[in-house]
Amino acid sequence: MSRKPRVGVVTFPGSNDDRDALRAVRVMGGEPVAVWHRDRDLRDVDAVILPGGFSYGDYLRTGAIAQFAPVMDSVREHAAGGHPVLGICNGFQILCEGGLLPGALIRNGGLAFVCRRVQVRVETALTPITAGLVAGDVLEIPIKHGEGQFVAEPDTLARIEDRGLVVFRYCSPEGDLDEDGNPNGSVHHIAGVRNEQGNVVGMMPHPEHALDPDIGPLGGQPIFESLLSSLLALVR
């Protein structure tokens, strides 16, 4: 009998989705583990989530200060060991700032903070959080960010596309890439990317806010199911 997968959620000063992420792990059948930004010991977690929020007030750049937090050394080791790391929103920004993911996130194209439900199209099943999905699946998940416009230099963008590193793209409910479905002007409609190994993933939408049947939407459920199933396969 395997144990429950242990998923750590890092709280930085200014994180505000950490409790929802911990709850999501618990509700979906995992064992949530709270990790403080000054911790160096990840306490044997099987995966790490960097949650949304405004770490260090978003001063300088989003995620710019958080990438130097003591816990990030341990997160880098965890990632280098091939273990899953998921950055959501501010967590995605931190992973890009820290060089664990390609590209960067800048102010939304329209400058406005955007808070609404969006559809994203799954582009690859080759990550722990999409392993139970199929490329082309459309998920409904909320976003809430002011700096979610994904950008990358032409060479980097070409590599991201050639190597299949795009995990999610903003799309219409039918899965089409129309401009109405791109809420922040992200290049190539990119809503989430992975690293070459596939174990590090960042995404702007919030799956932890999208798994309660009483509220909806439910696009976060298959993401957490995939993550926990992937971890079970590893810890068994």
């Binding site: 800048i106 400058l111 950008v151 990358a152 002007g185």
Partner: protein, 112 residues
């Protein structure tokens, strides 16, 4: 010795600058014609207590490249206040560096 540096950071040419674009689009409505580009960046001042000018400069370059800017999207310029205090110089007098502080100073700047 106290040295004061200005670090200017802005988005690389070619990358979308939503703030600059918004300002540029607002100018004609205020009657200002003929402005063909607006780029928004940051200006950061560092006060450094390092006597050796080369070491001071190297420290500022490293900080600018590693912390104050993100080499993926931004370039930075450094200018030192004349005489270590007072006076000022424009970014045009500073050196253009493209991202990585470990790179050779005076390398090809992405901007201007």
């Amino acid at each position: 010795m106290t040295r004061r540096y200005q670090v200017f950071v802005h988005l690389k040419e070619g990358l979308a600058d939503p703030q600059g674009k918004t300002i540029q689009e607002a100018l004609p409505t205020l009657g200002y014609e003929g402005v063909s580009g607006v780029r928004v960046g940051k200006h950061i001042e560092l006060t450094v207590e390092i006597d050796d000018p080369a070491k001071a400069r190297a420290a500022v370059e490293e900080i600018a490249g590693r912390v104050l800017s993100n080499p993926v999207i931004e370039v930075f310029w450094i200018a030192e206040y004349a005489g270590g205090s007072g006076g000022s110089s424009s970014p045009g007098e500073g050196e253009a560096l493209s991202g990585k502080a470990s790179g050779p100073p005076g390398g090809e700047g992405e901007a201007e």
